[in-house]
């Protein structure tokens, strides 16, 4: 599994590394997410929080992630984000593509939401 994840990380390394590097952690993207607005402005719904705690974590561990970690990530990238691509980064980071990449990694590792699943 790790090798497979590392393969994907390698393919998208430059864009991912750059996006994570330049994110100023300013939280100005928050209001652009309707999930954030509709959930009483809970910070865990911020686009930056979601991308830092999904692909950011996978990148930090260089792909050495276990199933439990990916399972923990599942609600962040599937339940808390609907990938509507409306999030706005003042610097121009392509947040949806980063979350989409995290989804790809999870899906390829066999971690994805089931229809009858209750979070």
């Amino acid at each position: 599994m790790t090798e497979m994840i590392q393969e994907i990380l390698k393919e998208y390394n430059a864009k991912m590394k750059l996006s994570l590097k330049v994110c100023a952690h300013c939280s100005l993207c928050a209001e652009s997410c309707f999930m954030f607005i509709k959930n009483n402005k809970n910070p865990i719904y911020m686009p930056s929080y979601k991308f830092i705690n999904s692909i950011g974590k996978i990148y930090k561990k260089k792909g050495n992630v276990d199933l439990k970690m990916l399972e923990d990530m599942k609600p962040i990238i599937w339940k808390n984000c609907v990938l509507c691509t409306r999030c706005y980064c003042p610097l121009g980071i392509d947040i949806p593509s980063m979350i989409s990449l995290a989804r790809t990694i999870c899906r390829m590792s066999g971690v994805y939401p089931q229809y009858n699943e209750i979070y």
Binding site: A14, K15, L18, K21, V22, C23, A24, H25, C26, S27, L28, A30, E31, S32, K41, P43, I44, M46, S48, Y49, I52, Y88, C89, P90, L91, G92, I93, D94, S97
Partner: protein, 232 residues
């Protein structure tokens, strides 16, 4: 005591001499390299840029354009966080303007290469520095007390904040001769050089990223939407 003094002279000559040139070269070469890397990540846009020729749409669009500047800004991030936008704009403009227009810096530049840039009077630069320090303090407070910023903040963010603020703080202290001038001015030069070197390789590179990705690469939020030439 004499021993300490000779070490100080050595360090002082090092930071005001070779280290200035080394850090400037690293900054310039590093910035060019980063721009090159960012352009390599993108490709020339071959997709057609869609312009709407619907008469009604265009009329409404024109009408919207006539809206006052402030009311259209209200719908953007400026309307949501007006204070933050004012402070952050001020902070970033001052970050670039203060070092370039400081009289003392320009005198050193004149002595070193024979030309200098426009300078503000020392009084104005002093006021601008205080404004910068206040806006920087605002960021610090925001990072500590606002939950949404705190939750994504790491030690690295505070370090980067320190690296951006410290050269200005030490410069202010040195100008007013607060604490030991010799130590503070050496520290000021060193921290300034450290910041220059850090710009292309750390989180500071958002300075380069912003201009490349908001002006050159096409996306929904890019400026100059109809003239952008590159895409991811």
């Amino acid at each position: 005591m004499e021993h300490i003094n000779s070490i100080y002279v050595l360090v002082y000559n090092l930071v005001r001499g070779p280290l200035v040139w080394i850090s400037s070269i690293i900054f310039i070469v590093g910035t060019i390299y980063q721009i090159w890397q960012m352009l390599l990540l993108t490709k020339i846009n071959t997709r057609p840029i869609i312009k709407v020729f619907d008469k009604q749409y265009n009329e409404t669009h024109e009408k919207n354009k006539e809206e006052s500047c402030f009311s259209s800004l209200k719908r953007t991030i400026c309307g949501i966080h007006p204070i933050m936008i004012v402070v952050t704009t001020l902070f970033h403009i001052l970050l670039i303007i203060i070092p370039l227009t400081l009289l003392a810096h320009n005198i050193l530049l004149e002595n070193a290469v024979g030309f200098s840039l426009f300078s503000f009077s020392e009084k104005i630069s002093d006021i601008l520095t205080v404004l910068f320090l206040v806006s920087s303090f605002f960021f610090f407070i925001r990072r500590i007390f606002l939950k949404r910023v705190r939750i994504i903040s790491t030690f690295y963010d505070y370090f980067i904040w320190f690296l951006a603020t410290a050269p200005f703080l030490t410069g202010f202290l040195a100008y007013h001769h607060i604490f030991n001038y010799r130590i503070i001015i050496t520290l000021h030069i060193f921290l300034g050089e450290l910041m220059l070197v850090a710009i292309p390789f750390t989180k500071f590179s958002h300075m380069i990223f912003f201009f490349v990705f908001r002006f050159i690469v096409v996306n929904e939020y890019s400026f100059r939407k109809h003239q952008v030439i590159r895409t991811w």
